[in-house]
């Protein structure tokens, strides 16, 4: 009864193409937005902001970027973290070279740099496919991280080779740097993530989205029905890298506060890939579900033994943590290879029918 679709007829194509053809979905979304914009900011603790809310959104955004490339356009990439790095370093250079610049603008612009780099590294995808391409993206991964290390101009010749987010304000309110409060940062992240998610939803359900999906499902056929593969793949690389770059800038400016090159190394790429795959390739919602799982799980696992008063050492917790994450990845792949988003879709379908069987 919760999901009763009967009686909801669409009389125009426009209505049929609306974002949420089923009314209940829209209601659900409204509730989620209410929580995100009002309830969490009022109630969340500093710890919750820093270890859950902010990182979940940033990771989800990065996964969304990757999902556009891998889930929608079918180009497997293992170099996401490096493109996040490009965004982060670009943002750092912008705010240090032009301290008067609006930091939010800087974050949004930094994606453009990673989009450019993404397109450059996307060019081989025109010839290289599948796992070969995946390994080729590792070339970007390792080369860029090396570059972050060696190109001292990028980190303003800091002795440590790391970048440090300065205190940045908009109209006197600190939004980045040590002085910024978590709530403010949370709102900035939430705003940008909401905006980009909306744009990505539009892109993926429209013509470009179909072009990408066609390229993913069968590139030869796609080309034969009139899709310019080069354009399709490169736009996917560009859009994906843009989103990933912005996520990278948020990652450092709104959350971490500082970064060294190897932060953007392969473990981060894999982390984001996990989120995208566990969440569900080719799904927008999945990125959020995946991020909640992958970011939230270790936090929960870290708290549980303490809460239960179990005498487990922190190293043991960490080992178990790695093991459990590995095990869960396999577990989720087995129960639903298409990810949490598909699992949700199945539940939703059951709810639509409920209480009637079939």
């Amino acid at each position: 009864m919760l999901y009763r679709t009967a009686g909801q007829f669409k009389t125009t194509y426009k209505a049929d193409q609306a974002l949420f053809p089923v009314r209940q979905d829209a209601v659900l979304l409204a509730i989620i937005l209410l929580f995100a914009w009002v309830i969490f900011p009022l109630t969340a603790s500093e710890f919750a902001f820093q270890t859950l809310l902010i990182p979940i959104m940033i990771y989800a955004l990065a996964a969304l970027g990757l999902n556009i490339l891998t889930g929608y356009a079918g180009q497997l990439s293992l170099g996401t973290a490096a493109f996040m790095g490009v965004g982060a370093y670009a943002c750092y250079k912008m705010v240090t070279l032009m301290p008067w610049m609006n930091p939010i603008l800087a974050i949004l612009l930094s994606g453009i740099f990673s989009a450019g780099v993404g397109v450059a590294f996307g060019i081989p995808s025109l010839r290289i496919k599948g796992f070969y391409l995946a390994i080729a993206t590792l070339a970007a991964q390792f080369f860029l991280v090396w570059l972050f290390e060696k190109w001292a101009w990028l980190y303003n010749y800091n002795a440590s080779g790391a970048i440090q987010v300065p205190n940045l304000d908009i109209f006197g309110i600190y939004v980045a740097g040590p002085q910024a409060s978590s709530v403010v940062q949370y709102f900035v992240v939430l705003g940008i993530v909401t905006l980009l998610t909306l744009l990505c939803i539009n892109l993926t359900r429209g013509n470009l989205g179909r072009t990408w999906k066609a390229t993913r499902d069968m590139d030869i056929a796609a080309e034969l029905i009139g899709i310019n593969l080069m354009k399709s793949k490169l736009t996917a690389f560009a859009v994906s890298s843009y989103v990933v770059g912005v996520a990278g800038a948020l990652f450092v400016f709104m959350w971490r506060g500082a970064a060294e090159p190897n932060l953007f190394d392969i473990p981060l790429s894999f982390r984001i890939l996990f989120i995208a795959i566990i969440g569900g390739l080719g799904s927008i919602l999945g990125n959020y579900l995946g991020a909640i799982l992958i970011v939230g799980l270790p936090v929960v696992l870290g708290i549980v033994p303490e809460a239960l008063g179990l005498p487990v050492s922190s190293a043991m917790v960490e080992h178990l943590n790695i093991m459990i994450v590995g095990g869960l990845i396999i577990f989720f792949l087995i129960i639903e290879p298409h990810g949490l988003a598909r699992l949700w879709a199945l539940i939703r379908e059951k709810l639509i029918l409920w209480p009637f069987p079939h």
Partner: protein, 407 residues
Amino acid sequence: EGLFTPNLSYRTGPFAATGIPLMNGQADYMNMLNARDGGIGGVMIDFEECETGYSTEKGVECYEKTKGKAIVTQPWSTGITLQVLPKTNVDEIPILAPGYGFSPMMDGKTFQWAFNTPAGYWDAADMIVQYLEGQGSLDGKKIAFLHLDHPYGKEPLPLLERMAEEKGFELVPIPVGLKEMQNQSAQWLQIRRERPDYVVMWGWGAMNAGAITEAVKTKFPMENMVGVWWAGHDADLKIVGEDGKGYKSISWSFPNLDAPVVADIKTHVVDAGNSKSNEEEMAGVFYNRGIIISAILAEGIRMAQQEFDTGEIDASQLRWGLENIDMTEARISELGLDGMVPPFKTSCADHTGKSGGWMLEWDGEKFVKVSDHLTPNTEAYEALVAEKAAEYAEANAPWPVNDACEM
């Protein structure tokens, strides 16, 4: 309740090998105090570990998780230190980073909340160069600087470059990437090509064992290789054993198995079955350095308790305590740490304490002291410290400094 002094430890990952003995030493000392004295000043110490795996990201997570109750944070990696440094300034929690961290942290006026007691990286670099100078003038000599390509490895570079200019030696920095730690043949080929007179090593984790085995393989004269204190782990040298004879490492700590503290740990912790360590490890340099690190923290707590006349001190009181440590020879032996650490004294302007150190050498089985007490020539780089500290403060403006503190 108690004194919550969490440790951001790493017993996992590629750096675990060097991390574990240190963490064990730290934990055993605190456990000993709890068992023997019922904590410090009658308050038990809650010495909890939060695992980071040497990952900066995890480190920050641990910091955020513990900062609510913690009176100190022990970040245990240069990367994490850099990351939490600006945050501690806002959260007002002292960072205790003995022998590591950001070198300009020694300027307590700018870095009110950060301590790299009892010695910093620049002290280490200075002492190593001093020691090498003692072997003969460095003018015209060539020193290869083999370092981890990571904030930690790059820390001493500005000072070494300056000294190279002053003393007329040629400095050849050779970075080792995190991924090459175990496969350093390219670096050692470069060393063979460059034919340096000395190799100064700033390694950590698996890099040390890799470098020492490669050195042996390429027949580099071991006596011309000197490491920083984090590159002097017994287990790394045991891999090559006899072949490693002559390898040196500067250190501000030394294992004295006859020291009373060791006996106390044995009775109160090891015999009670509360230690994760083993006999071999407990004889090593790193385990004993862990003891010293905890002892420094305990001393800071004691000073604060006395000053503020309360057992349950808070974070800012502990800062005062850490700024007023005076480890005289007498105090050292009172604490049962005879011969394990040189005397040092901190102040609000000097967060390091200038302990100096000893040069240790591997004799094929263990490290032995081969020098007298060396002291760093801090005046030589005071200006550099001030310059870098000011640079940092400016980049992180607004950055409150301790104006009350007179240099």
